[in-house]
Symmetry: C3
Subunit: 347 residues, 3 copies
């Protein structure tokens, strides 16, 4: 039962202390934030994700994680995220304890600390997938637990706070991992690609994390296309520049569409605009992806989106083979299967 061994080697991996060692496979301890992954770690995880895809397609009833128990400890409900983790676990023969409303129902309501809750739940399970409404919760849980923690989102979402390196990334590393994996699967490479990030770049933490991870690759060019009110913030721009990543801000979506390998659309989030519904309505209608955009895109290029979408990609785009967003969602399953396997049984 290798869990206990792998647990002893657990450590939060950080950028300057890469978790991958040449000649020896790395030990993944917890999955907390995008910053913990370097290029080699990503590549190694993606190799496992490709294995997972084969297992999911060809080996129903896989028993790789038989006997392991995952607790999904969600202090805020998120049905899609929860189902994707639970599916990943079950596709590998593992079992699940589930709670999707821990904030209201659990001992937390009586004033118990997160640390005490984690100490109790780790007695019932082998790995905890946690979503919490407070920034930094996943890190606190990982510092307490003797079993692996996966961060399925911590923080209020609406109010990014400074984390480290002066930049704030997505409140969950999962989306960025599966986005980079999807680009590699769809385009066949990560070095030398051109990526257009479109929509809400100010609040959409997904695109911030993606830009951050893309900076780990060579000769990447990023285009920012967004309404004036939700432009990409300076911290990411400065980070990209410091890493030698070329970037450009433009309002010409057609031009960008014709040049890019990847067009990454995001939802303009109404909840960010408060009372200013006029600004929201103006912003959301500005950069729609439709068949006209497809018309100028290259044959090998793809449209991505973190989902859910509203009408920022029109439905008639779905049937085009370059519409990659549902494949992207499915890739999230393979990434989660890979992480669960790595955290529980290692290589």
């Amino acid at each position: 039962f290798s869990l206990k061994n792998s647990v002893q080697c657990r450590a939060l991996e950080i950028e300057n202390k890469p978790s991958f060692t040449i000649g020896k496979k790395f030990q993944l301890g917890d999955v907390i934030e995008a910053q913990q992954f370097d290029r080699d770690t990503l590549s190694a995880i993606f190799d496992v994700a490709r294995e997972m895809e084969k297992i999911e397609k060809n080996s129903p009833g896989s028993q790789i994680l038989k006997g392991y128990l995952m607790a999904t400890l969600f202090y805020e409900p998120s049905t899609r995220t929860r189902l994707s983790f639970e599916s990943a676990m079950k596709r590998l023969g593992g079992e699940v304890l589930t709670t999707e409303n821990a904030r209201e129902f659990s001992s937390a309501a009586k004033g118990e600390t997160l640390e005490d809750s984690i100490r109790t739940v780790e007695g019932y399970s082998d790995i905890i997938v946690m979503r919490h409404f407070e920034s930094g919760s996943a890190k606190r849980a990982a510092a307490t637990a003797n079993i692996p923690i996966i961060n399925a989102g911590d923080g209020p979402g609406q109010h990014p706070t400074q984390l480290r390196e002066g930049i704030t990334l997505a409140f969950c590393p999962m989306q960025a991992l599966l986005d980079v994996y999807t680009i590699e699967r769809e385009i066949g490479k990560l070095d030398g690609i051109k990526v257009g990030l479109v929509g809400d770049l100010a609040n959409g933490r997904t695109v911030r994390s993606l830009a951050y991870l893309l900076a780990k690759y060579q000769d990447v060019k990023i285009y920012f296309v967004s309404p004036e009110v939700v432009k990409m913030k300076d911290d990411i721009k400065e980070y990209l520049t410091s890493k030698g990543v070329e970037w450009e801000e433009t309002s010409d979506l057609m031009e960008v569409a014709s040049k890019c390998d990847v067009l990454y659309q995001t939802r303009i989030q109404r909840e960010r605009f408060g009372e200013r519904i006029d600004l929201y309505e103006e912003a959301r209608g500005k950069y729609i992806m439709d068949r006209d955009i497809l018309g100028v895109m290259q044959k090998h290029a793809v449209v991505m989106h973190p989902l859910p979408r509203l009408d920022e990609i029109t439905v008639d785009v779905d049937a085009d083979p370059r519409a990659a967003y549902f494949r992207q969602a499915k890739n999230g399953l393979y990434i989660r299967m890979a992480l669960l396997k790595l955290l529980l049984v290692g290589w």
Copy 2:
């Protein structure tokens, strides 16, 4: 992994295009509405249900659906329905992803279309059991999905809308299937039976669907016994007449009880009466099944009820062997096991 093959053969079966073919077992694609089943299909499903009963009783730990994953996607909670499907799946060795409050918690709350939600969830599972508050949702889901959909209820329940053939049946075909199965199990035949439908025949969609399916059998006689305000509507009466089914409306429950093979009692639903509590109170007390009714019933006859019951059947009836309603509920498990097996691995 026969799922993918069977999926290619999926089609919504309709009355004039029966899903059963002589000399070749039919392919069941989705289970959406009572209208998709003809007499031969019902008979074939019932044969499998009887197998399932043997498995449930004698073969704990069956592995027939091992490796298969069912998602219960409930936009409206319904604990009993959900548990019965999940039990059916697990009794056959399958696994379950569960969500019972998708309306509030999921991406639907952010404005995602049902079609997009289905495309995501089908990436995580092999079959979706769906309950939704909008009529026609199950059909939309089936048209989108590449995996089988089972309709566990769609529509508001309270406001029947016209579907097809000019008549509206239950918002879920499951109850009618298990009712017909129960009659066959209890009485030993379906042709030539006499059935009394009692209680709320106007709003109780269960009895409408049952009457509809009984019209597929020979020499059936149906008695309608209901308070004046909740009489069976003309569409069903006309349909029965058009199919050559004899029916009669009466207020003499004793007389009906003495003649029938099946007395099917239903709950008078308070929520249908709005402010008119006086009408509700009058209606609910009118046709109670008690030991006096049992006294005039034939020895082989049975009392059925879709449950939950309030006091329309008195508790002292429960111990009589002719009280079939809890066996009826259990038959729902066998019917669900049969449908899951047929949809996932075929014959």
Copy 3:
């Protein structure tokens, strides 16, 4: 499939009719209340719990309960209790149907009786773990069901009502069982021990049940240490006296700490004080366990707590090996595994 046999032998065990028979292992039918366990039964259950601990640590993927299905029917949510039972079931290879909000979602909302609900759910499962807001519900369920019932709490919690023998114990026997098991595991014996019960002794039903069960052992001495407003009530004191158990009421926590084998701390429950927040604040600050208390405790002694805790045990106590409360919580898993095994497959 031994379930049906064991079910035929089901009976609520009571104090004067011990469930353990010399030369023949007892049949455990349901687990409803602490009063049903005598000393021999407890000892036998603890033997199985120790086996369960070995299985949990050394045999992931145990198949002891393979093919069995447990329904967690919670009319009131209690995440921790639910997860601990579900973990116990899954650690033994069993499967789970779960509902944590049955009051709101189920047929109960339509007025169905508990008995009817139980009759339906027992058709879907092999054992029911039930939590209900009405005192006596578990007993009613057990009287109805043909499968074993485990009481995971019934009653409002806030308003203890008289049950039998003139004394009211915890609304769920589980905590007392795991507490006694923990004392035996930690101290190595139950006869001759000294136990300090601290905190809210008036409302904390946990300590009442523990005192009740400890009376089954020889030469036990109990110290009650509590704020004046939440003193241990006379019924328990009289019961202890009648069983020859020595007890003492004192306000000198330091003195008690220096003498006891077990210091059992409890949370002062704010909800019991209503508007009198001043009384609550005074009571909660009065007997805190901190490093000073540890300083006078014996080396072999332990601190216990039913959890969740607020600040009645300071966090700096956690690292001391005598802090037994998280081990105690884990023991709850082993006790639940043992009960599930005994109820479903017997010895």
